[in-house]
């Protein structure tokens, strides 16, 4: 009979493999803030832009929602995380900026410095 601790470790391994199955190991992971505050600032529209891009063939991107990181005055926020690189955090992302992030950063690997939160 496995102990609860052994069971939870098994559950964790299963959870990790499910996340990987959803494409977590893609080159780029994109997180869109989706707390009440972010949504009020317009993050649902931003999320839609990314979702549409993926359904229209943008590949090698893992898209996820996330809670509030606390940068109220810069919301909506979007993070682009790539293995081995500094995570890039964008602020005040609207539909237009989201589109630019897809075109310039996700497709061409070019960080859009002026929107990066420092």
């Amino acid at each position: 009979m496995p102990t609860p601790l052994e069971l939870i470790k098994k559950k964790r391994a299963e959870a990790v493999s499910r996340i990987i199955g959803k494409g977590y190991l893609s080159t780029k992971r994109v997180y869109v803030g989706m707390a009440t505050c972010e949504i009020a600032a317009g993050s649902k529209d931003v999320m839609e832009v990314f979702q549409k891009a993926i359904s229209r063939g943008l590949t090698d991107v893992y898209l996820s929602q996330k809670g509030c990181a606390g940068r109220c005055n810069l919301e909506p926020t979007v993070e682009v995380i790539e293995q081995g690189k500094n995570p890039v955090k964008y602020g005040r992302v609207d539909k237009e900026r989201a589109q630019q992030i897809i075109e310039r950063h996700l497709k061409n690997g070019q960080v859009i410095q002026e929107w990066v939160i420092d």
Binding site: M1, P2, T3, P4, L5, L7, I8, K9, K11, R12, A15, V16, R18, I19, Y31, G33, A35, T36, C37, I39, S64, Q65, K66, G67, C68, A69, G70, R71, C72, N73, E79, I81, G84, K85, N86, P87, K89, V111, Q113, I117, D118
Partner: protein, 596 residues
């Protein structure tokens, strides 16, 4: 040029004492020598909680933590790690604290430098609606550890040893509360999460639940195991639909994984959670009023003792803690009380979450180690006061707290220091006030809120706050009388002494602290009928100066029809008609309208 690396140096007291600042200077020198100054940026952080291994340096990307550094290590780090790209295993320390994960993503941003995320460790880095995300970051491992390796007494001992105190504001030692509830013989027992967040401008609990609901579920289950309760209740206000939706989903998902319900993980321990919605009364954040509300009765407080630990929900022993308190529990169990105790001050351990709002550049939700000063929060994290204005006061603790002026900026954040300064820790509201705000008006705003939210049970609170508000309104309207301040102080003292619950006992704080710290502003209002911040409408008037170019913009926006004048000549305001709405002031493009 885009930076390739971002280095964080711990700037906590312990690391400074072991030579961190010397290393920082040396690092800058070395970087310049290698021509890397543009490519590697350096940031300072507050205490990273690894004091015994200091000085600490974190190299991003990769979040490589180097510890115990001496000067000769710096050239090696620069050459091997930064130039050649080989992290140095000899110097790296393996610190898998739960909070580290957040900083792998956000650690290089200045805003997060002085912060330390223990309770908000997952907020902003996981999908709150996916239990897999939480499980992958050692979620529910603390619960499993508790029910596998620890007896309920050992869990309580660990919480007690951690020094954690109630984050709802009062700061009662959490471990002692657990012990008291566990010692009660009556059954069934209950566990409650107080998510009835009501301070104006506060959103700590909402963000915590929306960003990481499973932490609360896990914390409550551990609490249930420790005190012998099978049922938990999350009391959350109905105004938080998304938070409700996410905690609901978290509970369902946890149930589906066998992490809630009967016989959790085959341990024989059973625990489940239900949700109760509050209708948004401020007083229901008070524990006895909250319990009445859960029972279906009117949300009014009752005298204590007996405390809920003995006589709580449905008359049974009840453990009630705030959202933030619960979120600390999994960390204390996994990382240990000994580690938790290294963060914070002597009598206040761990971190505190604040909703930083008002006249500050970076408004936001922050979490800082106890002992961080108000100045560090407002200037280092918050980025200071916008538009070059000057700082006037900071209001902590919401409507129950007080306003602290500039001399108190170096007050460290902990329960005792804030109380000594004349405010309270509260649940985490922090509002920064600049020179444009009138302190009498600020006091009036907060009292208006508490007066409105008074449940009416105690006469001093019900009637007293009403009378105080009348006097304050009178003062802001320029009808203040000599003796008003003394009357406010006397009434305030009485209300504090003669009210049953925290609402009444703290309602006069905003008024009393502003009288104490900004007495001259009250005196000006009463004696000279003057408002120095030019915020009290009745005490100011608008005038058009000779800068006027006669464009007519003010005349067109004036709803009262008080402005007249012909094109290209100076306009005038009819003071009898003017309602002091300020529309003309905003509309004027040449700053020709003056507030006097």
């Amino acid at each position: 040029m885009t930076a390739t690396h971002r280095i964080i140096l711990c700037d906590g007291t312990a690391c400074i004492n072991s030579g961190a600042r010397k290393l920082t200077a040396l690092l800058r020198e070395q970087l310049a020598g290698h021509g890397l100054s543009d490519r590697v940026t350096i940031g300072l952080s507050g205490c990273l909680g690894m004091c015994e291994k200091g000085p600490i340096m974190v190299v991003n990307p990769g979040y490589t933590i180097y510890g115990g550094l001496v000067e000769s290590d710096i050239p090696e780090i620069v050459e091997e790690h930064l130039v050649n790209g080989h992290p140095i295993a000899r110097l790296a320390i393996q610190e898998d604290h739960l909070y580290n994960r957040f900083f792998r993503v956000f650690g290089d941003a200045k805003f997060f430098g002085k912060q330390m995320r223990i309770t908000l460790r997952n907020c902003g880095i996981i999908d709150p609606e996916n239990i897999d995300d939480y499980l992958s970051l050692r979620g529910y491992e603390a619960l499993a550890k508790a029910i596998t390796d620890l007896t309920p007494e050992q869990v309580i001992a660990e919480v007690e040893k951690s020094g954690l105190r109630g984050r709802g504001g009062a700061g009662f030692p959490t471990g002692r509360k657990w012990k008291l509830t566990a010692a009660e013989k009556a059954t069934p027992k209950y566990v409650i999460c107080n998510a009835d967040e009501g301070d104006p401008g506060a959103f700590m609990d909402r963000s915590a639940i929306e960003g990481d609901p499973h932490t609360i579920v896990e914390g409550m289950a551990i609490g249930g195991y420790a005190v012998g309760a099978k049922t938990g209740v999350v009391y959350i206000r109905a105004e938080y639909p998304l938070a409700i939706q996410r905690i609901k989903k978290a509970i369902e998902d946890a149930r589906a994984h066998g992490l809630l319900g009967e016989n959790i993980l085959g341990s024989g321990f059973s625990f489940d959670i239900e949700i109760r919605l509050g209708a948004g009364a401020f007083v229901c954040g008070e524990e006895t009023a909250l319990i009445h509300s859960v029972e279906g009765a009117r949300g009014m407080p009752r005298p204590r003792p007996p405390y809920p630990a003995a006589v709580g929900l449905f008359g049974r022993p009840t453990l009630i803690n705030n959202v933030e308190t619960w979120a600390n529990i999994p960390v204390i169990i996994l990382d240990g009380a000994n580690w938790f105790r290294t963060v914070g001050t002597e009598n206040s351990k761990g971190t505190k979450v604040f909703a930083l709002a008002g006249k500050v550049v970076n408004t936001g939700l922050i979490e800082v180690p106890m002992g961080t000063t108000l100045r560090e929060i407002i200037y280092d994290v918050g980025g200071g006061i916008p538009f070059g204005k000057s700082f006037k006061a900071v209001q902590t603790g919401g409507p129950s707290g007080g306003c602290l002026p500039a001399p108190y900026l170096d007050t460290p954040i902990d329960y005792e220091s804030l109380a000594k300064a004349g405010s309270i820790m509260g649940s985490g509201g922090m509002i920064v006030i600049d020179e444009d705000s009138c302190m009498v008006d600020v006091a009036r705003f907060f009292l208006e809120f508490t007066q409105d939210e008074s449940c009416g049970k105690c006469t001093p609170c019900r009637e007293g706050t009403k009378r105080m508000l009348e006097i304050l309104v009178r003062i802001t309207e320029g009808k203040g009388q000599p003796g008003d301040m003394e009357k406010l102080e006397r009434l305030g003292g009485m209300i504090k002494k003669a009210s049953l619950c925290g609402l009444g006992q703290s309602a006069p704080n905003a008024v009393l602290s502003t009288i104490k710290n900004f007495r001259e502003e009250y005196e000006e209002h009463i004696n000279e009928k003057k408002c120095r911040a030019k915020a009290c409408k009745s005490l100011i008037r608008y005038e058009i100066t000779e800068k006027c170019i006669g464009c007519g913009a003010c005349r067109r926006v004036c709803a009262a029809g008080a402005i007249s004048g012909s094109a290209k000549s100076r306009h005038v305001i009819d003071q009898d008609k003017c309602i002091r709405c300020g529309m003309c002031f905003t509309a004027c493009k040449v700053e020709a309208i003056a507030k006097v």
